[in-house]
Amino acid sequence: MTTLRLRPSNAPVLWLLFGAGGMLAALFGPMLVFVTGLAVPLGWTLPGDLLSYPRALAFAQHWAGKAFLAAVIVLFAWHAAHRIFHSLHDLGLPTGASSKLACYGGAALVSLVAVVALGALGF
């Protein structure tokens, strides 16, 4: 019998965020990019003033719209941070504390800013 010396991991929480973000991005990512980045700016298939200030504000002030935006930004950020951090490892780039801070710290910062901004928009 052998006992392996195990290092407990905090990966599960990161992985859950990664997974949730990945699923959200897989389901809605392409259409979000299409709508906000192509269709509306080009006025193609959707009217160009779909995102006029009052409409955008209304959307962000509605609880559902607010929740959707928060979920997308926060979870996308953690998804991307987690994958990019692992890619650093895959490429043999440094994965020490500073890389970790850059990736996950970045995601945390994005989350914080998003929540504050969305909160500031009020209901």
Binding site: G29, G37, P41, L50, R55, A60, I73, A77, S87, A117
Partner: protein
């Protein structure tokens, strides 16, 4: 191990899949900027809107769209690996069926999102 992923086409595809995270990251920042602008008032928001209309932004978003679609495709491609064996009517469900179900769900979600945008149009 240096450059290992170039040694085998399978690994190259893996790397492509991982790189889709960059698309997700960039788009997250774009959205974040939008939300911050929105919170900063109408002028800032209009600035964001016009930036979105610039040719550079259009080109970037075209690229992001490719990245997002690849992400969605590869996400559902590996989904069967992350699930326990499923049985329907006593027979195990094939991996490809799970992938197809996932992709179908993505199409439905995208359509719903588009429909929502359509419904909200002025």
């Amino acid at each position: 191990m240096a450059g290992w992923w170039r040694r085998n086409p399978y690994f190259v595809w893996y790397m492509v899949r991982e790189v889709t995270a960059v698309a997700v990251a960039v788009y997250t920042l774009v959205l974040l900027a939008g939300v911050v602008c929105l919170a900063s008032g109408e002028a800032a928001w209009n600035g964001w809107l016009s930036a979105m209309r610039s040719p550079v932004s259009i080109a970037i978003h075209a690229a992001l769209l490719v990245g997002m679609v690849s992400h969605a495709w590869s996400w559902f491609d590996i989904m069967p690996k992350t699930m326990p064996l499923l049985f329907v009517g006593g027979r195990p469900v094939a991996a490809s069926a799970i992938t197809r179900a996932g992709l179908a769900a993505a199409v439905v979600a995208a359509a719903a999102l588009f429909a929502l945008a359509w419904a909200l149009r002025p």
